[in-house]
């Protein structure tokens, strides 16, 4: 049985970049080039950002809000038409216990942004720690709940998933893009190979059920191990 066609063939060709600074608008007005805005990248060493973006080293949401003008700014005025940034996706730490969806919606609106991504994602934290995070309502369940709130408010979601179960949940929420995250890269090639194989399996499982672009996140430390998974994805996501 052949795989169903992906609706947006353009997505197969393009890479989705994660960048610290908003880039000058590229692409056409109808099809703007997209990027995930993650200003915290500038605060962390490039070779360890996947790990450090989930540790108390920097305020990842604070960096995003500051880049967009700050939560304290007067956002009562409607966004100016030239402020629209249709290709920008705001990378948000959804498990931030002090995150107020209403405020973020106003800030995004004022900045002309109408899409977010659950990046960095708490799904990367595993084992018993993940269970403890969940029981304190700071885990995956909270991440999905916050994403669902944004989705209900009409925000487009680029959903990062580390397992096929998480991907299913994101599809239920109604994400517009799905990105498979292979987890933190190990310095041991065997561990990377196992992670790559799991990524490949998950992409195969998701492919028939996924009617939206299905991308693969390629952290810098992964190399050729991800080649087979790359071939199954509609596009890649990587750091700029």
């Amino acid at each position: 049985m052949s795989n169903p066609p992906v609706p947006d063939q353009h997505a197969r060709q393009t890479e989705l970049l994660i960048a610290a600074q908003p880039r000058a608008q590229a692409g056409t007005a109808e099809s703007p080039e997209r990027q995930i805005l993650a200003p915290w990248m500038d605060l962390l060493p490039a070779n360890q950002r996947d790990l450090l973006s989930l540790l108390p080293v920097a305020d990842v949401n604070g960096a995003l809000f500051a880049a967009l003008g700050g939560l304290e700014q007067d956002v009562t005025a409607p966004a100016l038409p030239d402020a629209a940034r249709p290709g920008t996706i705001a990378g948000l730490l959804c498990v931030d216990p002090f995150l107020r969806v209403h405020d973020v919606l106003r800030l995004l609106g004022a900045a002309g942004i109408s899409a977010i991504a659950n990046f960095p994602t708490i799904q990367v934290v595993d084992g018993a720690t993940a269970r403890v995070f969940d029981s304190a309502d700071l885990g995956v369940k909270r991440e999905f709940r916050i994403l669902a709130q944004f989705a209900r408010a009409g925000v487009a979601i680029t959903g990062f998933a580390t397992t096929d179960d998480a991907a299913e949940r994101l599809l239920e929420i109604g994400v517009s893009d799905l990105v498979f995250h292979p987890g933190l890269a190990s310095s041991d090639w065997r561990a990377r190979a196992v992670a790559a194989r799991q990524a490949e399996d998950c992409l195969r499982t998701l492919r028939p059920r996924c009617q939206i672009p299905l991308r693969l996140f390629c952290p810098d430390a992964f190399g050729t191990e991800l080649d087979a998974a790359r071939a199954l994805a509609d596009g890649l996501v990587r750091y700029a």
Partner: protein, 578 residues
């Protein structure tokens, strides 16, 4: 440090207590309470900001800058005991030497490794260690601090981490049992008190053989009150305890709840000066209603308003909510001079129709007695024919009332009809539509206790007053009472309080007695069984781990950081072996 060692040496009965805090007010209060030292931790700050301690591990700020900022302004130089800085070693841009230098320069008396890699496991922990940002780096920071003359307090969870700390020759080792149970933001637990005590005993014997001068502390997990602490410290011969959530969040949550409740009650008492409130207070006293929730006030207002009329009433709700008392209270409150008559429809020997409507010339029915109140309990058990007759009677009464108002002649007041029914019976349509329609104007729904937990402390205090032994309930005890669903409503609560008071040898009833009494009051096998939310969570966690590891038990056990035997036992417990 010598001062702490001497305190401990003065007598083994004196346990050292450290406060892991994050705000000036808590720091000063902990010292007034006798804390021997303080740990300034980002987790303490997050707790008073309303988040769980676990937020300490999230990328919400630079932990070292954050902690230093509030500790300098609010804690250092404001307390008379040593203050240790909670230093995070996660930041690769700040090396341990730099951290120690800064802590010393600022004026901290020592350092501790918090937030720590010990709180992570699985692949994430492996990556942390591979990156050189794991426990070895924390142990190195502590060793450097000791060399610099600072006090060192090392958090650890496993034997291997303890070995690192012994090698680093830290002054104090704290065996952490995970994030605290208890309170509104409790997290799932890995240990029971007995397991924690056993684990501490084994690990501290290793510490004592390798580093006899090191002080041993316990913290977290199931230790949520002084009794738990004493049990673990006593069995493990620990030198002391460090409290975080147990010193600030849990007491604060409960104390704010109780104080607010007390102020609210005071407001209600003050309102009693008004005529309306005096009527409400009288209604509460007569109906035996205890509580101060909006629900209770609404019921009292309904009862008071209804009492001033002749409208027939329908009191519904679950059993055990005092519906009968509310129904009967309508009689004295309405000032009727006739008798209060009660028909128990569930009584197989009752002849409801004859009782209500009379039996010819031989017996006058309840409904014919002037100025009376006729209460029918378990009204859902009346036959449909009798219900239809009651609906007709109500219709005739209404018509008679209308005619009377036209003629302006005052006829003798007939009986007021009050039906008492279970909510479940009403939902399944146990009353015939004609009767149900007639009673809607005077319907009072008494909500179950689980929908108004704010009434639970007042009911518990009321019961203790009735028992008259001058006992109180601890904050943890109230926490358990508030967390329970009370399927048996007020009688269940009464029974729990009675049993807990009986089993408590002290003036304060603790969580242990409340927990035991609740266990007794609920169905056998429910407490602590797979039916609890925590167990359901654990089962989900197991299934998730098994699925992630393609149901390979060896891999799953390694992934979860437990032995294959423990995994097998857990799978068997949750029925995952078939």
């Amino acid at each position: 440090m010598q001062e702490l060692v001497q305190k401990r040496a003065q007598g083994s009965a004196t346990l050292l207590v450290g406060g892991a805090i994050g705000v000036g007010m808590t720091a000063e209060a902990a010292v007034r309470g006798g804390a021997d030292f303080l740990l300034a931790l980002n987790a303490g700050r997050f707790r008073v900001m309303g988040a769980a301690s676990l937020a300490a591990l999230l990328p919400l700020n630079n932990s070292n800058r954050f902690t230093d900022s509030f500790a300098r302004r609010e804690i250092l130089d404001r307390v008379s005991v040593p203050v240790l800085f909670g230093a995070s070693c996660f930041d690769p841009m700040t090396d341990p030497e730099q951290l120690v230098r800064q802590a010393r320069a600022v004026g901290y008396h020592g350092v501790t490794n918090f937030p720590s890699s010990i709180h992570f496991d699985g692949q994430f922990r492996k990556r942390l260690e591979e990156a050189g940002l794991g426990f070895a780096r924390e142990a190195r920071m502590l060793a450097l601090a000791r060399e610099a003359g600072l006090m060192t307090f090392g958090y650890a969870k496993t034997r291997s981490e303890i070995a690192h700390l012994i090698e680093a020759r830290v002054d104090m080792i704290c065996l952490n049992f995970g994030w605290n149970a208890g309170g509104v933001q409790a997290v799932a637990q890995s240990f029971t008190i007995a397991e924690a005590a056993d684990r501490a005993r084994r690990i501290f014997s290793i510490v004592r053989s390798g580093a006899p001068d090191t002080l041993c502390f316990v913290e977290g997990g199931p230790i949520i009150n002084p009794d738990d602490m004493f049990r673990v410290c006593d069995e493990a011969r620990a030198d002391g305890y460090v409290g975080g959530s147990t010193l600030d969040r849990m007491p604060l949550e409960m104390s704010v709840t109780e104080r607010t409740s007390a102020f609210k009650a005071f407001g209600v008492l003050k309102q009693a000066n008004t005529k309306q409130s005096r009527e409400l207070a009288r209604a509460a006293r007569i109906a035996g209603i205890v509580g101060q929730s909006e629900f209770v006030l609404a019921i009292l207002e309904q009862v008071t308003r209804l009492a001033a009329t002749d409208i027939a009433a329908l009191i519904s709700g679950e059993p055990g909510l005092g519906r009968g008392a509310v129904a009967r209270a309508l009689h004295p409150l309405s000032g009727r001079t006739g008798p209060l008559l009660t028909l128990r429809a569930a009584n197989p020997e009752a002849s409801p129709e004859a009782t209500l409507f009379g039996d010819g010339p031989r017996k006058q029915g309840f409904l014919s007695r002037p100025d009376s109140t006729a209460v029918i309990e378990n009204a859902e058990m009346l036959s449909p024919d009798l219900q239809a007759r009651l609906a007709d009677w109500l219709e005739q009464e209404a018509q008679r009332g209308a005619d009377t108002s036209k003629t302006a002649t005052a006829p003798p007041t007939r009986a007021r009809l009050v039906l008492v029914c279970t909510a479940a019976a009403l939902e399944r349509g146990a009353l015939v539509p004609a009767l149900s329609r007639r009673l809607q104007a005077g319907r009072i729904d008494v909500p179950p206790l689980r929908e108004r937990p704010e009434d639970v402390p007042a009911l518990a205090r009321h019961r203790l007053e009735v028992l008259g032994r001058g006992k109180q309930i601890s904050a943890d005890g109230y926490r358990l009472l508030l967390a329970h669903d009370w399927p048996g409503n007020t009688p269940e609560l009464r029974s729990v309080i009675d049993r807990a008071a009986l089993n408590s040898e002290q003036d304060t009833i603790g969580s242990a007695q409340i927990s035991d009494a609740i266990g007794h009051a609920t169905k056998p096998g429910m407490a602590g069984s797979e039916a609890t939310p925590q167990a359901v969570g654990e089962r989900d966690w197991l299934v998730d781990a098994l699925r992630r590891n393609r149901f390979r038990r060896g891999d799953t056990a390694a992934y979860l950081g437990i032995s294959r035997k423990t995994l097998y036992n857990k799978m068997r417990r949750f029925g995952l072996l078939e």
